[in-house]
């Protein structure tokens, strides 16, 4: 069979699988289904759930579900969706699609809706599963709960019924943000030394900066994400230990590298920023000074409890968090990123040079 034919066949299979999923779901939701409808829907949901679990177990992240029987897990995780009442009504499915006019949706839309529903079900159940299995998760959960009470978060987030809620007044029928998407957003701005309060602030910002999902996120879900991210970071940046004299030498070297990187990045971008009116010379000096402190404390592992906002506030005493978010955060984060990357590159080059 030629490759082209296989690709064509795969397209046909995709279309065949989709055909009628809308009618099937409609009958299931309207309690006019037959056994074949439920079997087809179960099969479809199972395929989504098993794929999600296989991806997770195959990745470096979900090391905890690697040894499990994924098919059993997938089945257990979607079982709730097919709960019936005494009248045989599929109550969970009916409730989920209550506000959705299925008639207006195509088979393709229904496939996406079902994917979203099943993936969120899998996520929910993984949280429960992890919570039962991983004692270290409890520590992270406790630390997140403590972080909710720290000054920076106090009036911005609360914890209720298993969720971190950033805006209580908003009652919506929106979905909870899928864990994968929160992870994409969160991990892109985390550093290896980020502490729980820093992470929580990022989560608050992520939830506030979007309107597509609910302004709340599962506490256990976040804890699991932090736990996974920690594993990833630990493996990418192995902790090295050595005699103190080395660390003293290293600190001096670090200062030199940092100084050079700050100057280099400043030379590269300062002119452009001033010309475009994004910042003046004085502001830029403060950003670079703060960035230098942040990168230094990141590498030395000191002052890790302090957020970027805290560190900038050292130079802007009247600075409010809202002001920081609106006017300074993006520039400061960018500068920190550039300085850090440049310094790492310089380190790498220097190391390669010595090796040669």
């Amino acid at each position: 069979m030629s490759i082209l034919f296989i690709a064509f066949q795969s397209e046909i299979n995709k279309e065949l699988r989709l055909m009628g999923i809308k009618r099937t779901l409609q009958r299931c939701v309207n309690n006019s289904y037959n056994r074949s409808d439920v079997n087809n829907l179960i099969s479809h949901c199972f395929n989504v759930a098993i794929t999600s679990l296989r991806i997770k177990s195959g990745s470096f992240k979900s090391f905890m579900i690697r040894d499990e029987n994924l098919e059993d897990l997938a089945w257990d995780f979607i079982a709730d969706l097919f709960q019936k009442n005494e009248g045989g009504e599929l109550v969970v499915l009916a409730e989920y699609f209550k506000y959705c006019d299925l008639e207006l949706l195509s088979d393709e839309d229904i496939q996406i809706e079902l994917r979203r529903l099943v993936c969120s079900k899998v996520e929910d159940n993984i949280f429960r599963f992890y919570g039962e299995r991983d004692p270290s998760l409890k520590k992270i959960i406790r630390n997140i709960k403590l972080a909710v009470k720290v000054q920076e978060c106090e009036n911005r987030v609360c914890y209720q019924d298993g969720f971190l809620i950033v805006d209580k007044s908003v009652q919506t029928d929106l979905e909870i943000m899928p864990a994968e998407f929160m992870q994409v957003r969160l991990c892109s701005s985390l550093s290896e030394n980020s502490m729980i309060p820093d992470i929580l602030i990022k989560v608050i910002d992520i939830l506030n900066d979007q309107d597509e999902y609910e302004k709340r996120f599962s506490l256990v879900g976040l804890a699991r994400m932090i736990s996974e991210t920690y594993v990833l970071i630990q493996s990418s940046y192995p902790i090295k230990t050595g005699p103190n004299v080395y660390s003293e030498m290293l600190r001096k070297e670090l200062d030199d590298f940092l100084e050079k990187s700050v100057n280099k990045v400043k030379d590269n971008i300062a002119k452009q920023y001033i010309e475009k009116g994004k910042a003046d010379r004085r502001e830029l000096d403060i950003y670079f000074k703060t960035a230098k402190e942040i990168v230094k404390s990141n590498f030395e592992g000191t002052s890790v409890c302090r957020s970027q906002f805290d560190q900038l506030k050292e130079h802007y005493h009247q600075l409010e968090y809202e002001q920081f978010r609106e006017n300074h955060r993006s520039i400061l984060e960018y500068v920190v990123k550039l300085v850090r990357n440049d310094m790492l590159n310089s380190f790498k080059k220097d190391w390669v040079h010595i090796q040669q």
Partner: protein
């Protein structure tokens, strides 16, 4: 330009043909410039690629499975007699009575085509007949049904195709009259735990061709089991064997379901095997 939603990105990845040209090009532009959106699109793409791969592998397994029958006819093979000469160990010659193991091979049936062998032994010292089924298609916990044509005899093995019967129930003489035998392998297997045995729901059943659903319904004095007979690739089922506490009971399918009295079912861990 407004950022595309995740739903739009998913549609762009999975069903691009559903989008208008301008919608598609708007999303494309965003994906080009926004790393975060690109990561999300990559995730969708990876997800659906893996899902299609899984479904296609399951379909391939289903095709493979069709080549294996749920029933295997076995032909007798003659017992190989050992050379009459014995080996004597001069320094440690043992008494003849101790040398005898008391195990006699009565019959052996085989199917070369399906790599399957049934061996029937007479355990004289224990007054028992032992049946062993060895097959490439037999799982560790599978229970098989051995049918002897013309004898009106069905034997249900234990897990792994092993069975011991008292010589009073099945004698070596009877076994010697068997001309052929037929093996029924389970086409579906499922497990019911204490929790699911008490309520309506859907059980996961494993077949060589992937996962199927089995519906469980609670009646007033019976539990009804409905194997999936609706999917195009589902195997027809005629009987169901329920094994609880090592005691099997066989039930015939009627009107698409099997009715098992509740007392045999409730609050127990049960293995279900489906045969056609």
């Amino acid at each position: 330009m407004k950022k595309p939603t995740e739903k739009q990105i998913e549609a762009f990845v999975r069903h691009p043909e559903q989008l208008t040209e301008s919608e598609a090009s708007r999303i494309k532009k965003h994906l080009k410039s926004d790393e975060e959106l690109r990561l999300i699109a990559e995730w969708f793409s990876h997800f659906y690629e893996k899902m299609d791969e899984y479904i296609s592998n399951t379909k391939k397994a289903a095709l493979e499975k069709r080549r294996i029958p749920s029933e295997i006819d076995l032909k007798p093979i003659p017992n190989v007699k050992k050379n009459g000469r014995r080996v004597f160990v001069l320094a440690a010659q043992t008494e003849t009575t101790e040398l005898s193991s008391g195990i006699e091979q009565i019959r052996t049936f085989a199917s070369k085509k399906y790599g399957t062998l049934v061996r029937i032994l007479n355990l004289q010292s224990r007054n028992k007949i032992k049946i062993d089924v060895i097959s490439d298609h037999l799982g560790e916990d599978d229970i098989v049904i051995l049918t002897i044509p013309g004898q009106d005899l069905n034997l249900v093995t234990g897990p792994g195709g092993r069975l011991e019967v008292s010589s009073d129930e099945l004698s070596a003489k009877d076994v010697q009259t068997w001309e052929t035998c037929k093996l029924n392998l389970p086409v579906l297997k499922s497990k019911v735990n204490r929790k699911s045995s008490k309520r309506d729901g859907y059980l996961m059943a494993q077949s060589g061709a992937g996962v199927k659903s089995v519906e469980l319904k609670q009646g007033s004095d019976h539990v009804y089991i409905y194997p999936d007979q609706t999917s195009p690739d589902s195997e027809p089922v005629c009987m169901v064997l329920a094994e609880a506490d090592k005691i099997p009971s066989l039930w015939l399918l009627k009107d698409g379901r099997v009715s098992v009295p509740k007392e045999k079912f409730q609050n127990r861990k049960i293995s279900l095997f489906f045969y056609n």
